[in-house]
Symmetry: C2
Subunit: 249 residues, 2 copies
Amino acid sequence: MVTSFVHGAGPLIRKLERLIRLDDDERRALDQLPLRVATFDPGQEIVRQGDKPQQCVAVLEGFCSASKIVGDGGRQIVSFHIPGDIPDLQSLHVAEMDVSLTALTQTRILLIQHEDARRLCAQSLRITHAFWRETLIAGAIAKEWVVNIGQRDALTRVAHLFCETIARLDVVGLADDYRCHFPVTQEKLGEAMGLSTVHINRTLQELRGRGLISWERGVLEAHRWEDLQQVGDFDPGYLSLAPDWVVLR
Amino acid sequence: MVTSFVHGAGPLIRKLERLIRLDDDERRALDQLPLRVATFDPGQEIVRQGDKPQQCVAVLEGFCSASKIVGDGGRQIVSFHIPGDIPDLQSLHVAEMDVSLTALTQTRILLIQHEDARRLCAQSLRITHAFWRETLIAGAIAKEWVVNIGQRDALTRVAHLFCETIARLDVVGLADDYRCHFPVTQEKLGEAMGLSTVHINRTLQELRGRGLISWERGVLEAHRWEDLQQVGDFDPGYLSLAPDWVVLR
DNA sequence: AAGGCTTTTTAACAAATGTTAAAAATGGAA
DNA sequence: TTCCATTTTTAACATTTGTTAAAAAGCCTT
């Protein structure tokens, strides 16, 4: 892992400001954070299940997955992470990583020492709430994944994931006209959806055959967003937070 | 819904002290909370998906489920809640309830006004962290449910849920020698596991036939805990937090 | 004890998805 | 360009799980 010190809290500040308003003091505190950046190649593990990390990571560029290994050797991807996500914020409170984070593409990661994150929390209740809100969104997405895998057939399930992905990327400006980067193999998609690679392939052909999507060379496009939402039984409500003035005055 | 004012922050204080240490000021603040208790009959909805509640609930007695409805009318239970849980704490930050909470048994619920919870957070960083930690455990359980439903076959899946339930009830002193109340119909169990009632029944017979469990009149017992853990591919790590001194000094 | 509702169990069959293996296509690296 | 590895696609078949319906058992109320 190659890391370098940087003075670039910009992306982190923008991230937190999507979660909650920050005042000048808070922005200044974030700006003074000693941050490092690390780069990972596709397939590299960023953090491993069972690790006891002393830092959190924020995705600057690239895509990652969070996965757990089961007894028989299978792997379940429990979330995909996109730029702006802080996928292991829970490591501030949980002793051992319950998932592995793996880079799906060339990925740039911001490293935030736990110590620094805790100092920030102690200094600013609002930043604490922002962190908490980040983990709540992750929890809401996880619950929706339970529903998706537990109740929906393969076609609906995959359509739902595509909708979720486009919706989340849109928030950070990475989806343009229902078109986004989605650099995942069909095998990975299967691991995320609890489906075999072969069945994923069948399902994709059906979605393409219905003219709902195209997905080539890692670029996903929804051709008829409304219809895709309907086929995917997708309602984006679970992705959004209450306005921060409800929480903090 | 019948409610009555009470002066009984005791259970709430004990709950939070399982999450983080509290000092006298914090205990006093909790003690002064204007709390109400509500009672629900089996099958009654405590909070409904889409609601915008002004309060959180803490389970004092009884069992509840959190579920989401899907487009075709199906229902997925995304979590079971036991005494000590605060199942809708996320409503402090999320505008609309993303799940419905339903009483599975006669249930006593403590109501905490959002306003009061927010004041507590503003007064005590430690209580904020305690709340955050509660939601993180819920998130960890949700991720494990994704794994359970996505990767494990029916037998393993149900065995895993039984292990999780016994382990969680044990923490609050409600499991004795791997024996606990688990007042759920096979239909509900199916909704939780993404399996049909019929298949749940087949699976239970297999578990009983192997002498791993008994489950009669709502009382679940693991006869050979180690073996049940193994069949259920259960590792309780995801249920526990870092000691609080790691987080706050 | 009888009646009626809910829950569990059984059975036969249907459908969705998994498995294995191989062929075709794709994309880098030399 | 060619080669090699990875990924996607196809095919045939196996297995798990779902569906429907009805019977049996359990449980609450009268």
